[in-house]
């Protein structure tokens, strides 16, 4: 039996990791992956919560989260594919057609 605190700590660490990746990686694919990690961190947290209180809410939530993650990823990949026409190296920083700085 793992203490829920441990699990929650892991979830937090994963979340931070994802966040870090989001902030640090330039490639859009990695950005998408970071988001997935963050979402999964949340999923883990729900499992932890379900574990702590012994109710199924957490597991239901996890399924929903996975759904969301999948949908997001799908949409993201479509857009990335389209973007490749313009930006071959998929550097997120060069996706800056829309900006306010001349």
């Amino acid at each position: 039996m793992i203490a829920w605190q441990m699990s929650a700590g892991l979830a937090l660490a994963l979340f931070m990791l994802g966040l870090l990746g989001l902030l640090a990686r330039r490639s859009l694919v990695f950005v998408m992956m970071s988001i997935e990690i963050m979402l999964n961190a949340a999923g883990l947290l729900f499992i932890t919560a379900g574990m702590r209180w012994g109710n199924p809410d957490g597991q239901i939530m996890l399924i929903l989260v996975l759904n969301l993650a999948g949908a997001e990823l799908a949409l993201g990949l479509i857009l990335i594919l389209r973007l490749r026409n313009r930006i071959t190296n998929l550097d997120g920083d060069s996706v800056n057609l829309l900006r306010d700085v001349p």
Partner: protein
């Protein structure tokens, strides 16, 4: 199981489920739009019926009361108007098929409705994400436009980030309290300090997500790019529908019995309000892109709205809703004008301020209603926005938020500048050698929709009493 109270939701669900079938039967944009419109209308008309429900429908998942149904009504009215305004925007000769747009549209509305009525965090989450995902699709719908796909990408990443925060926040809340029911969590007091902090951290992360959707400073950063890149009808959608859903649940939470905003929340809202009012207006000051201006303007307006939220009491409550109504109608109108002037077949929308040059001379009526919308945004009579601003100021004065009022005045003056600038450009003499935006034909439904938007803005701007009375019903 009595579903009377959930009638609008039921109709929308059927609609969202059935529309792909319609597409499969016959790929006809008009037909699909009409079906979507009729469905939305049916949902709207079912609201009085839903209000008379003897027992609450789906009490575990949703709260259907005057407040939430009122917001749903508002969402549906807005949706209908946007849908009509979008009708000529999507052109047949588009490289893309346009028939899926109403599908996404209705799905998003379903999400917003669920969000508005959600009673627990699970529903909140489902509604939020349904709405968001649909919106990503709508933003990036004209994929052949580099701006649209880029806006979609930005919105996807940043909303993904905010969704993670929301989810993690919900997770923390559940971890600390073991419940997902909103009312329960708000009412309960956490057992120990650690749980309490976890709960607060969770709520804070929820606040971040809310802030993102409401596009208030410092979560506003995506707004201008997305508004500028998205097609004009989607712009209205993002500016209005998304915010309505989130505001609905926010206001419902605030209005739960026994809720009073703790000092820390008040501080947070105050800071955010001040920053939003000032930054929104300052950012728009010398902006030359109309959609960006509307984006910045929405930032500032949400700042004003937060002032009203801070000002509790009956005036504050109605002030908030009144302001939301004024904001929603006006934004739809402003984006609607861009919509009717733009076509999806073009490389981009008519969204440069200078492209409106001479509108007063070429299309005086359109220019007049656009002026009315801008006056409403600026809060000048005889437009609805004026009464709304007065309402907020009344709430602010009533609760003696002098500092916030002062900021409101200052930022209001800054804001005037760019609204006026647009009016000025419209009033300039047109270049004779240029193709004018005004030469496009404007369809009858579009004209009707514009009229339906501008009429209440003018009428309630002069005599707001009926609207006030109506909105007061939401709090009974």
């Amino acid at each position: 199981m009595n579903l009377q109270g959930a009638a609008p939701l039921v109709i929308l669900t059927i609609l969202a489920g059935g529309l792909p079938g319609v597409v499969a039967i016959k790929r006809c944009y008009r037909l699909i739009s009409a079906v979507a419109g009729l469905g939305l209308m049916a949902a709207l008309l079912s609201i009085p019926y839903a209000l008379q429900a003897p027992v609450p429908a789906l009490p575990a998942m949703f709260t259907f009361n005057a407040l939430s149904l009122g917001f749903i009504g508002l969402i549906l009215v807005s949706a209908l108007l946007i849908l009509i305004l979008a009708s000529t925007y999507w052109q047949a000769e588009t490289p893309l098929r346009r028939e899926e747009y109403p599908l996404l549209f209705v799905a998003g509305i379903l999400g917003a409705t669920v969000l508005a009525a959600a009673a627990n965090f699970m529903m909140l989450f489902i509604g939020l994400e349904t709405m968001t995902l649909a919106m990503i699709g709508m933003i990036a719908y004209p994929l052949f436009r580099p701006g649209a796909e880029e806006a979609g990408m930005k919105y996807l990443v940043l909303s993904g980030m905010s969704s993670s925060f929301v989810l993690f926040g919900i997770g923390l809340i559940e971890l600390s309290s073991g419940s997902l029911d909103i009312a329960q969590i708000i009412a309960a007091t956490p057992a120990d300090a650690a749980s309490r902090e976890m709960l607060i951290a969770g709520l804070a992360m929820l606040a971040i997500g809310t802030g993102f959707k409401l596009s208030v400073v410092p979560f506003h950063i995506w707004v201008p790019d997305v508004y500028a890149g998205a097609p004009a009808p989607t712009g209205a959608y993002v500016a209005v529908i998304a915010k309505l859903g989130v505001l609905a649940i926010l206001i419902r939470v605030i209005n739960l019995p026994g809720v009073s905003l703790p000092a820390s929340v008040q501080t947070l809202i105050t800071v955010i309000a001040i920053l939003s009012m000032l930054a929104g207006n300052l950012l728009a000051l010398l902006q030359d892109n109309l959609k960006r201006i509307l984006g910045y303007s929405s930032i500032a307006h949400l700042g004003y709205l937060l002032v009203a939220i801070l000002a509790a009491g009956t005036i504050g409550q109605v002030a908030v809703v009144f302001y939301i109504v004024a904001y929603a109608i006006t934004m739809i109108g402003a984006f609607g004008v861009i919509s009717v002037l733009s076509r999806s077949s073009a490389a981009r929308d008519v969204d440069k301020v200078l492209e409106l040059r001479g509108l007063f001379w070429t299309r005086p009526a359109l220019a007049a209603v656009m002026t009315l919308f801008l006056l409403s945004l600026a809060g000048i009579p005889p437009a609805l926005g004026f009464i709304a601003k007065m309402y907020i100021m009344a709430a602010g004065v009533h609760t003696q938020l002098w500092g916030l009022l002062a900021i409101m005045v200052v930022s209001g003056v800054i804001g005037l500048f760019y609204y006026l600038n647009i009016i000025l450009v419209m009033s300039m003499k047109p270049h004779t050698d240029e193709a004018l935006p005004g030469v496009l034909a404007i369809s009858i439904p579009n004209r009707l929709a514009i009229a339906m938007v501008s009429l209440p803005i003018l009428a309630f701007g002069i005599a707001p009493s009926p609207l006030i009375a109506l909105l007061k019903l939401m709090f009974d």
